[in-house]
Symmetry: D2
Subunit: 267 residues, 4 copies
């Protein structure tokens, strides 16, 4: 089987760097180029921190890149501003994009979907590549059909500014799409200290714990008479994202449609 | 909408008793008869422990029952020996069975499936009606596709005789159907005290905790670099089974096929 | 060794009933009488629900009781209104009280302490007999000396009216006696949904989860750089109180002072 | 108040390096010298990786060090072979040692205790500086007096070679010092898969979980009728040790005796 030829955008970024290593360490992947606006014309080897990439060219312009290099997949973990341009251009050149972003607008997504359909090309845009977190949300939504009583506890380090976390809100939204609406707790329930019962989202309660030492954790608890079902994800570091990127690369090669969200390629 | 007319087999058993209450407390269900080998000919009201059922006849013979009473669903939570006869007979009379048992043979199940297909009648046989436990197993299987490293901890009261629990083994079996086989842990791993690493099932490890105070709990843990996904079910008492029975009754009225296992009617 | 002669007040109450069984099932205890305002003059055997107590007299008046029966210990799990009278009277007669109540006033407690000192008699008043819960609070207080960052999550069934629970507030109070005061979380932390960060007690956060299926649970989490310490108590039923009652009875026989709170007899 | 003058041995080691930073970041500590066999005669500033220490001399010989520099405390997180020599010498010069090691023999410890008593000098030797882990063990021992039924689950990354972990064995040993001996579980309990019930230590069971993603975690579970008490420690990284080192330095300045184990200075 021929190798999957990959271009990585933003190799010096934290995530891009992990993606370079992922491609390097995966037997049937081949890194054919990188996009880096500052180092165009060099070899990847020449950029500080990269060794063993003497044959990988660096391009500062994506059109140059695809005109000179045959690629199958573009991995883009940069920022929405350049990400949309990269994705659009990749599709123009018949390269399948795997893009990690929450920043595309609905119009962007619609445009990409149309292009994919027209060209019958796979494309995966994912707000979250941590497979465990994606499954936690997917399972929570599935369980929400059968359990109307749900509470979410999310736990993060104490340097986090906002509460609740984006993942907790997203999880609650996904559950509320399928859950029969309900105000939980006893109707006469009373807080003797304000805030004890947490935030309220469509009758579900969300609690945000902040402690030094913690990293990023969430547990979703479903209760009904005589039982409880708990789904928990612990994220210890960003290496966890790479298994999701790999799943996306493998999948994007097999599909000829547009997919938003990893949960839609996990069954 | 007309009510679902239900017959309950074994109303004096612990589970049958809960089923009688379920039917009584569900608005669109109607209890039209019970099967009780010892009290045939009485009214349910006359059996000790039952009140408010003055119009519900008791039959000791299932054929008598269905010849005299129009029913939609039979709920049978008795024992496999009578359960198979009940299920077969119900289908003969066009009554849809909902049966809780692990005791039917493959031949039994094949026969029932054939009858269902022939008569285009719904029938649900379930080894486990605890929705949370069923979802825990279903989600574990789904996660097993993406995480090869799994450990199962099951925790029960210290009067339990066998370890690991049937649910833990079933879970491991379900995961191994989809998980790429792997011997987990470090290849040079060494137990300095025998048994520390638990039981081994296809390279997965299973740990059985027994403590007074505990009831029935299981957590399935999936790890990969930088993250962990945990799915846990706590069963506090048998009331938890009734939400599963209700789901099965509601579903069996809508289908015209044979289903084994609640996981197959939960999506 | 001679047996400990015990009088139980309120044998028909849920807790009193468990106490009668505790005395019955403990080899070196002997039930010498019960106090029951409605059944004075009978034998315990004659009260519905009690068997095998043909020699245990029932008294409706505590003075009568102690004038007629030689006792070592009074177990009183009734209500504060009669509890104080019972405790005072027991001490008058040289009987050591073991009392479960949160209802005594500071004046009551002071009076009892004075009487104990004067008579050199042991007496134990405990707001909580669940040893696990008492240890959870004691350990939390100890940990609070070394960890300034604490969050408490208490979880109860959804029929509970008040949030946070009395135990959670008590725990926070005990921790704040030793913990260096601190407003936890990031100074610029912001709730995008009100209540997400829970209730605030001296800078600590308390979260109250309510779900059907749950019973009574609490976990106290301490974080510092790179680590977390969690102390959790799960209460599944009231049988858990009896090991605490037994510890109190055994201890009250060995001491000649007044003790408030089981934590003070656990080292 | 004058500052505590600290010497750190082994500043280039992972732990020694953290200790240098601890001293630097603690207001009332002052780093007066470091011991480094390879860089004697330089300033700490001159060693790669250290900035802002232009006035801190490096000694390769500990006697030289204490002859030239006035110090209050020696922090030694090196290896047992040099650690014992360092500790002995520090005490000779009136410097209080804080040493992290599990490698000293009983004879070593006895000798150090004698010297401390003679010179009325504080000295703290600790096998573990993670305060949370030390408290977990201390609380587990305390709980073991009241709960005879205990199971330990320790969870580590899958590169760990031995099972169970040293901390789990140490915890079990500490509990067994106070726990009334008991073979747990049902007497007729049967493993249908070998190892399910874990390792056996004095009737307690120990379970070792190994998964990629995990770091170092342990939970000790105590059960009795109707309740469970769980004590858990999560260690996410080595920064957690420094709060223990700080506690030891602060304490060693106040005591004039020998202490082995941080648990003995935590109350």
């Amino acid at each position: 089987m021929s190798k999957v030829r990959v271009v990585v955008a933003g190799p010096r970024g934290r995530m891009g760097n992990e993606a370079v290593n992922l491609v390097k360490n995966t037997e049937n992947y081949e890194l054919v180029a990188v996009l880096d606006h500052r180092h165009g014309g060099k070899l990847l080897n020449d950029i500080e921190g990269f060794h063993g990439f003497s044959s990988v060219p660096v391009f500062s312009n994506i059109e140059d890149c695809f005109q000179n290099v045959q690629a199958d997949v573009l991995i883009d973990l940069t920022i929405p501003e350049v990400g949309m341009h990269h994705t659009r251009t990749a599709l123009q050149y018949g390269v399948r994009p795997v893009v990690g972003t929450t920043g595309f607008t609905n119009d962007d997504l619609q445009e990409l979907e149309n292009t994919c359909n027209e060209k019958e090309l796979g494309c995966i845009i994912a707000p979250n590549f941590a497979l465990g977190a994606v499954l936690m949300m997917k399972f929570s939504q599935m369980a929400g059909k059968y359990f109307r009583d749900v509470e979410i506890i999310e736990l993060h380090h104490d340097q986090k500014l906002d509460a609740p976390s984006g993942t907790a809100v997203k999880t609650a939204e996904m559950i509320s799409e399928v859950r029969e609406s309900k105000v939980q707790g006893h109707p006469a329930e009373k807080e003797t200290m304000a805030g004890a019962r947490g935030a309220n989202f469509d009758g579900m309660h969300i609690h945000s714990v902040r402690l030094p030492g913690l990293i990023a954790h969430q547990q979703v608890m479903f209760g009904s008479e005589g039982q409880m079902l708990t789904i928990r994800h612990d994220s210890f570091n960003r290496a966890s994202f790479m298994s999701g990127v790999k799943l996306a690369v493998d999948t994007v090669m097999k599909i000829d449609t547009f997919v938003y969200g990893l949960e839609n390629i996990m069954e």
